[in-house]
């Protein structure tokens, strides 16, 4: 009972703090995009080749691009209040529908990448900490620093060369085998096969971060008195590490997993390009190039929203894990 009330308080505080942040993001992004030279009408006219002044004016009027800036902003905010992200002139459909089509594949990719990063990173970091100062630790430290230094798009391309071109084990792009008409488990396996390479390229950077963080956290916790007690009462070293050390060392790692959500989303823009993955990142990039600002604003807003949700979940998780946490 008391527990729930405390969690609710944490939740309410986060939501209250998020509202001005979201509003700030909307207004800032809106103004930024409106300051940009060129709009959707320009790009469309350029592509059609034969646009007169009249058709341009008509296009602008149709999209509401001829109104004063403040009026456009208010109209956009008015739409938002009604949970509408506006309409994309380029794709000819509501922005929310467009994003809805792309979001699941990006979330799947990010989810798998984050899972790989957390699991491999924690394993790597624990191994490094347990062998701290010895050669295993030194080698793994350099390896993790190497992961930290590799550009995601480049390792993506190299993985394609190795696993699709040379070995022919995994597909080099796309989300599924087109036209194969797979169903049931086969379809799932096919999806997974397409996800392995992009998720790995996306995860590598974060594997390094979690590895290093876990190493530091484990080493710090390992010097605590209760760990010595656990060892003194004769528990096996592995039990001590898993039960007593790792559990307490994971708190800082989970904090960062929330923050990194945004980073992985940004990384998805590049990795989706490499693997022609039909996701949100690709959509964002296409809409920048086409000056389709309604879509772009929608994607930016949604990604900020996802980051805020991820952070809120982490806050709640922390409040639940550690009763001392109330107000930061």
């Amino acid at each position: 009972m008391f527990e729930n009330r405390r969690l609710l308080r944490v939740l309410r505080r986060t939501v209250v703090q998020a509202v001005p942040t979201v509003l700030g993001i909307v207004v800032l992004n809106f103004l930024l995009l409106k300051l940009a030279p060129g709009d959707a009408a320009d790009v469309m006219a350029g592509e059609f080749g034969t646009a007169t002044e009249e058709t341009m004016a008509m296009l602008r009027r149709q999209f509401g691009l001829d109104l004063p800036l403040l009026q456009q902003l208010l109209a956009y905010l008015g739409n938002l209040v009604q949970f509408s992200l506006g309409f994309s002139p380029r794709y000819g459909m509501p922005v929310s529908e467009l994003i809805g089509q792309r979001l699941p594949s990006t979330l799947m990719l990010m989810g798998l990448a984050l899972a790989i990063a957390v699991v491999v990173g924690i394993a790597l970091g624990t191994t490094m900490a347990m062998t701290a100062g010895r050669w295993t630790d030194r080698v793994l430290s350099v390896v993790s620093l190497l992961f930290y230094s590799v550009p995601g798009f480049w390792i993506g391309l190299m993985l394609i060369v190795l696993f699709s071109v040379k070995l022919g084990w995994l597909p080099s792009g796309g989300q599924e085998t087109i036209g194969a008409g797979l169903t049931g488990l086969d379809a799932v396996a096919d999806r997974l096969k397409h996800m392995i390479l992009p998720a790995t390229s996306l995860a590598l950077f974060y594997v390094a971060i979690y590895g290093r963080l876990t190493r530091a956290a484990v080493l710090e916790v390992a010097s605590q008195d209760y760990v010595r007690t656990a060892a003194a009462k004769g528990l096996a070293p592995l039990t001590v590490t898993l039960r007593h050390v790792l559990r307490n060392a994971l708190l800082p790692v989970t904090t960062l997993a929330g923050i990194h959500f945004g980073g992985i989303l940004g990384g998805a823009v590049v990795v989706e390009t490499v693997y022609s993955w039909p996701g949100l990142g690709r959509l964002a990039f296409e809409s920048v190039m086409r000056r389709d600002f309604n879509v772009l604003l929608g994607v930016l807003l949604l990604s900020s929203f996802l980051v805020i949700i991820a952070n809120t979940l982490i806050d709640l998780l922390h409040a639940w894990l550690d009763p001392r946490i109330e107000v930061r």
Partner: protein
């Protein structure tokens, strides 16, 4: 890349040794990896500066038969690309862009970060609240997405790419500086400076800032690394300066021939990895040297 922004600097306030002390330098020099990395970076920097002497010809011009593999023709040790451009020349000229953008973006980002972070941490109150909100807005938007938007709408050029990278990196520094200033502003020497009637600017820049420098220096080397990664990702996506060759744009061009001529993608990538790795190794060594209590040895 993006992603690359979030540094791995520990979030702590350190009681740092005075910067002038030789102890830190000695500690740094005792680290063989760091010394090696420094030597490598010096080599890259010298090559970058001397590019016009080594390869006087425009690296974007056609000089050889297309698709020479590395080692096939001794005149072009790293081969040539689909348009007969010398890969080695591209590498040398690309180093210029990478280092130039990396260092300039870091300098600009760190300056903005110090000013904002110091103001927020030193004054506190509503100024702090407002600036923290601003930092939050920037940190809530995925930074690479933001970067793509900024560069795409401002025409990709060296200057705009630099400014855009600085705009997405300053919040990291600002948070760090703010935390340092918050812990330092209550210290006796600051109170003493206030008692002597020093102005705010003098207290911030001459009294507090030098004491907050060690973690800023460590993070700066990591930021150069991530700026180089961001620039390469941008030019890979076709958002680099079209008139300058860069490692990222070489990879982007090589991608089309990935199946037949993978060396075109491989070679510039190795250049990026080694340069960024060297910077990160230096960042680690600086961290150990400047924060002796947090040395990575147990």
């Amino acid at each position: 890349m993006t992603a690359a922004t979030s540094g791995h600097t520990p979030d702590i306030a350190v009681a740092a040794p005075p910067l002038g002390s030789w102890r830190a330098v000695r500690a740094f020099l005792r680290n063989p990896a760091a010394v090696l990395a420094t030597l490598f970076l010096i080599m890259v920097a010298v090559t970058a500066v001397a590019a016009p002497l080594i390869y006087p010809e425009d690296p974007l011009s056609m000089v050889a038969r297309p698709f020479l593999w590395p080692g096939q023709n001794p005149t072009f040790p790293l081969g040539s690309d689909s348009l007969g451009r010398d890969v080695a020349a591209g590498l040398v000229w690309g180093a210029r862009i990478s280092l130039l953008i990396g260092i300039a973006a870091m300098a600009l980002g760190v300056t903005i970060g110090i000013v904002v972070g110091a103001t927020a941490g030193y004054f506190g109150g509503w100024i702090d609240d407002a600036l923290v909100r601003l930092i939050e807005i920037f940190q809530t938007t995925p930074s690479f997405l933001m970067l793509v938007v900024l560069v795409a709408i401002a025409e990709p050029r060296v200057e705009s790419i630099t400014v855009a990278i600085a705009l997405v990196t300053w919040p990291t520094i600002a948070r760090l500086v703010r935390a340092e200033f918050r812990s330092l502003r209550e210290k006796d020497f600051v109170t003493a400076a206030r008692g002597l009637g020093y102005g705010h600017a003098r207290i911030i820049f001459i009294e507090i800032l030098p004491n907050a420098l060690p973690p800023i220096i460590v993070t700066s080397s990591v930021i150069v690394a991530s700026a180089i990664l961001m620039e390469s990702a941008l030019s890979f996506m076709g958002l680099g300066d079209p008139n300058r060759i860069s490692w990222g744009s070489m990879i982007g061009a090589g991608r089309e021939m990935l199946r037949t001529a993978w060396y075109l993608t491989f070679i510039p990538g190795i250049a990026i990895v080694l340069t960024v790795l060297a910077l990160n190794l230096i960042g680690d060594a600086l961290n150990d040297a400047l924060n002796p209590r947090l040395s990575s040895e147990p």
